[in-house]
C-alpha cells in the first residue's frame, strides 16, 4: 500500500498496528475442522444410535412380566389396568363375569379408557367407542378390541395371552 493506506487484512505490507493475526488456536482451518467434524459426528450419531438401539432386546422379549390381579381388587363395573408382556391390559368385572382386553384401540393404536358409568371403552384420540364386549359402537373403527386370555387360580386372575409370541 504505497499511499500509506492501512491494509487491514493483507498478509504483507501495512503497519503492524493494523494487521490482524489469528490467535494460534482460532484459525479458519480450525473452525472448518470443528464445523465439518462436528457435523460428521452428529450425523454418525443420528444414523448409529437407532441402529444400535434396534439391536437391544425388546422389553416384551425380556423376562416376562405377567399380569396378575387378585380377585378382591376387582370391583363391580370397574376396570383394573396392568402391563402384560409390554401391553396395556384392562380387566373388567361385570356381575360374575370377568373380561380382559388389550387396551390398544383398533383405529390408530391409542390406549382406550374404560368408562364405568356408561360401561363403554372410549378412545381419547378420535373418539372411538366400544361396548363392554369390546365391539365397536361408534367412531372411526370397524374392528373390536382384542380379547385377552386368562385363567383364575386360587383367587388370582392370571393373564395367559402370549400374543402369538413364543
Amino acid at each position: 500500500m504505497a499511499n500509506g493506506e492501512p491494509d487491514l487484512a493483507g498478509p504483507s505490507g501495512g503497519s503492524d498496528a493494523y494487521r490482524y493475526e489469528s490467535p494460534p488456536d482460532c484459525t479458519r482451518r480450525r473452525f472448518w475442522k470443528l464445523a465439518i467434524g462436528g457435523t460428521a459426528a452428529v450425523s454418525a450419531g443420528a444414523v448409529g444410535y437407532p441402529v444400535v438401539a434396534f439391536l437391544r432386546l425388546p422389553k416384551s422379549l425380556g423376562p416376562v412380566e405377567l399380569m396378575e390381579v387378585p380377585l378382591e381388587a376387582l370391583e363391580e363395573g370397574a376396570g383394573v389396568w396392568g402391563e402384560h408382556r409390554g401391553r396395556q391390559i384392562v380387566v373388567i368385572k361385570l356381575g360374575d363375569e370377568l373380561r380382559a382386553f388389550d387396551g390398544v384401540c383398533a383405529h390408530l393404536g391409542c390406549i382406550v379408557r374404560w368408562d364405568s358409568a356408561s360401561r363403554m371403552f372410549k378412545c381419547p384420540c378420535h373418539d372411538a367407542k366400544y361396548d363392554d364386549l369390546g365391539n365397536p359402537v361408534s367412531g372411526p373403527i370397524n374392528a373390536p378390541l382384542r380379547r385377552v386370555e386368562f385363567v383364575v387360580e386360587e383367587g388370582v386372575l392370571k393373564i395367559r395371552d402370549s400374543f402369538g409370541q413364543r
Binding site: 444410535y49 437407532p50 441402529v51 438401539a53 434396534f54 425388546p58 422389553k59 422379549l61
Partner: protein, 218 residues
C-alpha cells in the same frame, strides 16, 4: 520395463488403501456439474440405507401370512427405534425411486445417453426396473389389505401379453391367486435376488462412468 522385471514381478504386499484412495479427492469433476449431478449418488445412498434398514427388519420379520403383519407391528411398536427403522425403509423406498427418476431426467435433458455412454443409459433403465421391482415385492411383505391388492393388480399386468401372459402371472403368483406362496416368493426376491442384481448392475454402471469420465457440456 526391463527383461528381469517382467520375468520376476516384485513381490509387493496387497495394499488396499491405494484402491480406496483413487476414489477420494482430489477427484476431478467438471465445473459444470451442477446440483442435479448428485441425484445418482443420492440414489446410491438410499440403496445403502435400504440395505442396512432391511437387514435390521429381517431380524423380526416373518414371511408367513399368519405372522407377517404381526411381526411388522411388533417391529413398529415393541422394538426400540423399530418405528423409525421401519418407516425409514418404507419412505426411502419411495425416495429411491424418485431419485433414480430425477437422475434419469438430468441424463435425458443433457442428452448424456449418447455415444459413448449408451450402455450407461441401458444399465440405468435396468436399475430403474430393478428398483421398482424392489418396491413392488417389498410392498407385499407387511401383508396388509393394500399389499394384497397391490400384488394382485400388479401380477395382473402380464396377462395383457398374448399367449404366455396368463402363464407368467400364475408363475409370479405361484398359483392362480396371491397367497402365502406369493409372499414367500416375493420375500426371496426382495431380500436376496433383486438386491444382488442391483448391486451387480450398479457396480457395472459405476465402472462405465469411471471409464468415460463424467460428461462435460459440448
Amino acid at each position: 520395463m526391463t527383461d528381469s522385471e517382467s520375468k520376476q514381478p516384485p513381490k509387493r504386499p496387497l495394499r488396499l488403501l491405494p484402491l480406496v484412495k483413487v476414489h477420494l479427492p482430489p477427484l476431478v469433476v467438471p465445473r459444470s456439474l451442477g446440483w442435479a449431478g448428485c441425484f445418482g449418488g443420492l440414489a446410491l445412498v438410499q440403496f445403502t440405507i435400504q440395505i442396512y434398514t432391511g437387514i435390521l427388519l429381517l431380524i423380526y420379520y416373518k414371511a408367513d401370512p399368519m405372522r407377517a403383519w404381526d411381526s411388522v407391528t411388533f417391529i413398529k411398536s415393541n422394538v426400540p427405534m423399530g418405528w423409525l427403522i421401519q418407516r425409514v425403509h418404507t419412505v426411502s423406498a419411495k425416495m429411491m425411486i424418485a431419485l433414480v427418476l430425477m437422475h434419469m431426467a438430468r441424463v435425458a435433458y443433457y442428452r448424456i445417453y449418447r455415444h459413448p455412454r449408451e450402455w450407461h443409459w441401458i444399465s440405468g433403465v435396468i436399475l430403474l426396473s430393478l428398483t421398482t421391482f424392489m418396491g413392488f415385492t417389498g410392498y407385499l411383505l407387511p401383508w396388509t389389505n393394500l399389499s394384497y391388492w397391490a400384488a394382485s393388480v400388479g401380477t395382473e399386468i402380464p396377462t395383457a401379453v398374448p399367449v404366455v401372459g396368463d402363464g407368467i402371472a400364475t408363475w409370479l403368483r405361484r398359483g392362480p391367486n396371491v397367497s402365502g406362496e406369493t409372499l414367500g416368493f416375493f420375500f426371496a426376491m426382495h431380500v436376496a435376488v433383486i438386491p444382488a442384481l442391483i448391486a451387480g448392475v450398479m457396480g457395472m454402471h459405476f465402472i462405465m462412468i469411471r471409464r468415460t469420465g463424467i460428461s462435460k457440456p459440448l
